[in-house]
């Protein structure tokens, strides 16, 4: 028996058949139930885990249709329009779904109808029924008001005026109903009867293209999966060619025999349709995930979907058959590294207009970086946005620390001057020469109103007694005010 906390009392949220046989009911207080039957076993409800389970089941139902939506806490909508013939008709499909769930240990009710509302009612009040188009009214009429998916308050007030079945509501004049009980009631009724369209919003975006293969014998080995990927990719290629597109995101779905679903996605930096390349990307991804994919008793359905596409530019190869496209090589390399080591494995620096050294260069993942490093021979060069040429650009270090490291500066020759020596990473450095300061102020235009102004930084180029060159800065200024905090020193980078 499962309890949950509702209005500061522990109540029964769900219970099994044996508890029902003891005349316990949902909503009953746990204290009352315990008083009746002291030996009952109570488990605290875990809505998170229930949700995860439902999402797992929704993933699994993906094998029947890409349009799977989660309905409240305990239901799934499957839009099987156009999918039933793949499983031998509506009846065969529903039987298969029920049988599969039963084998996995779930007690499932299903209903199939041409509207979501009617299917919802059929599943909850009949268990295993297929409602043909036009029979919705006959299905709903004898059912109680709760079959209409309306709020409990509306239901209670409808019952108080004597409308106890859906049929009674249908027979009642519409205008007074709408005036008294709100538009939702009629909306639900019309949706259930098919007078209004109701869209089921799928949980996952529907892939524009996907190819799948049902396997009579489940596969376990990674090699077999890779081989399947290349076969599926070959099938995918013709579709992509027809559409003139290439894949930007690909997902491989592995449906395990016992219901678990593995979703493996790879991204590409440029549109791709070559099966060999797709297979290589998944090879890297599968190698990286080798430990975390549990094949169990094997996968019996493998699906390769294209989640996002982009226009694919055809490139004319030369007579030797090699396109000699370095950019494509690099994009593939970056994709493979990314597939194996994650999104941020290949980074590209992007120059940003900013005075602050740490903001002046931003490193972004390769796939998001602006492409087109060198214009190809045929294409016109993009307009150049050259930075304004300064006669003496300020010296910048070759390496910059991720975050400036605090250093100890015991003394400076003059208050606003460079340090004489400093301690960094527990080693003492003696300053031989110093250049500076270069004052870099905080960017006031990025400051939020009311925020304290960030202190300015005075940067110094320092050469220590052994010839190493560093970039230090002093944050803040020396102030005569007694309560003012002394300025702090930081190591920000090293020069060549």
């Amino acid at each position: 028996m499962i309890s949950h906390r509702d209005n500061n009392t522990q109540r029964i949220a769900a219970l099994d058949e044996r508890a029902e046989a003891l005349r316990l009911k949902r909503g009953m207080g746990i204290a009352d139930a315990r008083a009746m039957h002291p030996s009952i076993d109570v488990v605290e409800a875990d809505p998170e885990a229930d949700r995860r389970l439902l999402e797992g089941l929704a993933d699994w139902c993906d094998r029947y249709t890409p349009l799977v939506a989660i309905d409240a806490e305990d239901g799934l909508f499957l839009d099987v329009t156009g999918c039933t013939h793949l499983f031998g008709g509506e009846r065969a499909m529903q039987d298969e779904i029920l049988a599969r769930f039963f084998q996995q240990g779930f007690d499932v009710r299903a209903g199939l109808a041409s509207t979501p509302g009617a299917a919802w009612a059929a599943a909850r009040f009949h268990g295993d029924r297929i409602v043909a188009g036009g029979e919705e009214e006959a299905l709903l009429s004898p059912l109680p008001l709760s079959a209409l998916r309306i709020a409990p308050e509306t239901r209670a007030s409808l019952e108080s005026v004597g409308l106890r079945t859906a049929g009674a509501v249908m027979a009642a004049p519409r205008a007074p109903l709408a005036r008294r009980f709100g538009a939702t009631l009629l909306l639900r009724l019309d949706q259930a009867l098919g007078r209004l369209d109701e869209a089921v919003s799928p949980r996952l975006p529907v892939a524009p293209l996907s190819v799948e293969r049902h396997l009579a014998e489940p596969v376990v080995l990674t090699d077999d999966i890779e081989r399947l990927v290349s076969r599926l990719a070959i099938a995918l290629k013709t579709d992509l060619e027809r559409r003139g597109e290439g894949a930007r995101t690909l997902a491989l779905l592995l449906f395990r025999v016992d219901g678990a679903v593995n979703r493996i996605a790879v991204g590409t930096s440029r549109p791709m349709r070559e099966p060999r390349l797709i297979q290589r990307l998944f090879h890297e991804r599968l190698t990286a995930l080798e430990q975390s994919i549990d094949a169990g008793f094997g996968f019996d359905l493998v699906r390769l979907s294209v989640l996002s596409v982009a226009a694919f530019d055809l490139v004319q190869g030369d007579l030797t058959g090699e396109t000699d496209d370095d950019d494509a090589d690099i994009a593939l390399f970056a994709d493979r590294v990314r597939a194996r080591l994650g999104e941020a494995a290949v980074l590209k620096p992007v120059v940003v207009e900013s005075h602050l050294p740490e903001r002046a260069v931003k490193t972004v993942p390769f796939a998001e970086a602006p492409q087109g490093r060198a214009p190809a021979a045929g294409r016109p060069a993009p307009p150049r946005t050259a930075p304004p040429m300064t006669v003496y650009p300020p010296e910048r270090p070759v390496r910059l620390f991720r975050s400036p490291e605090p250093i100890e500066v015991p003394a400076t020759e003059i208050p606003e001057g460079p340090p004489m020596n400093f301690r960094w990473r527990r080693a003492l450095y003696r300053v031989a020469r110093a250049e500076g300061p270069e004052r870099i102020a905080a960017e006031w235009w990025r400051q939020l109103p009311g925020e304290e102004e960030a202190p300015t930084r005075d940067y110094y180029r320092i050469e220590d007694s052994e010839g190493r060159r560093y970039w230090l800065y002093r944050q803040g200024l020396y102030s005569s005010a007694a309560q003012a905090a002394p300025p702090r020193w930081f190591m920000h980078g090293v020069f060549a």
Partner: protein, 363 residues
Amino acid sequence: MLLEVNVMAMSAVARDTIFALRRQIAKIEGTLPERLQAPSGCAPEAIPGKVRSSFPSGMAQNQTPSDAAGPDMTIVRRGLAVASADAFLHTGIDRLDAALGGGLPKAALSEIHGLETRDAGAVAGFALSLVSLVLREKQGLPILWVGTAEIFHEAGMPYARGLHALFGIVPGQLLFSEAPKLLDALWIAEEAARMTAFAAVILEIRGSPRLLDLTATRRLHARARSAGRPLLLLRQAGEADPTAAPVRLIVSAAPAASRETLAGPLAGSIGRPAFKVDIGKSRTALPGQFTLEWNPDEHAFAERTENSVAVVPASGRGADPAPAFGAILAFPALASPAVASAAAGDQPSRQQHPAHRSPRRAG
């Protein structure tokens, strides 16, 4: 190979055996041992501390007693697949090129060591100046910098703005790859080293990990060699472990010269980057220590010797402008020795003419 050092002391029969063995080795390696003329700059007496008999294994010295004392020593070098002049990256410093046997091999793994992590700036700077030399021929090709998360955290990320100013490497040309583990870094470097789309690949590693052994470096070297691209292995705070790299350079920072202005060196200023480069290992096994200065305007190395005369560059940024048309008739030709000596007399260096400065010091 150690056998060969003792060639002289052996009988003719033994020598025949040695030659047969050498031929066999050459057959296995697929290349004939080649004979190099040791440059005069690298004659033994020119390099202090070098003892003739102490050639390490890895090179062989073939000499007859007659030319033992002469400067035209013959060095036998082997193992480089292509020994043409094009196979080497010329650093522009003749002495260094000669000591490396022609330059840094272009299609190979090269190690650049820093003794301490705090030398990371100098090591990175030296590696990037080599890359900048590579880019002279392969303009526009990207560069991949692979490093472990540890080294990027300890020594800092390469800073694209600084690289652009110093080495002419455009930010769009750079690619970084930060690997969480060393194994991943090695994998990325191996995959990148086999590609010809990169101008150069830099693999940066801290310390002396066990994973980076002879096998791993051999794999890297083989890939770099077949792709024909340099792979620079930067090792911060690493030991001189045996690796397959034909060249190992130990780099540390050297105090920079002062900035040059038209009025002479600016006292107390920090000028161009300078590196101290030790040859730890090379095909010729000639030791040497060099102090190199990187010229960011011309993208070239210059060697700093003890009494170098500072020269003001003709142009601030970029190479010399084209020579003017026509001839200036009012002055004699600049190349004439008389004028050159006169010009030198105008601005004598301190070492040449200490007397020149003494009156001022007294005053």
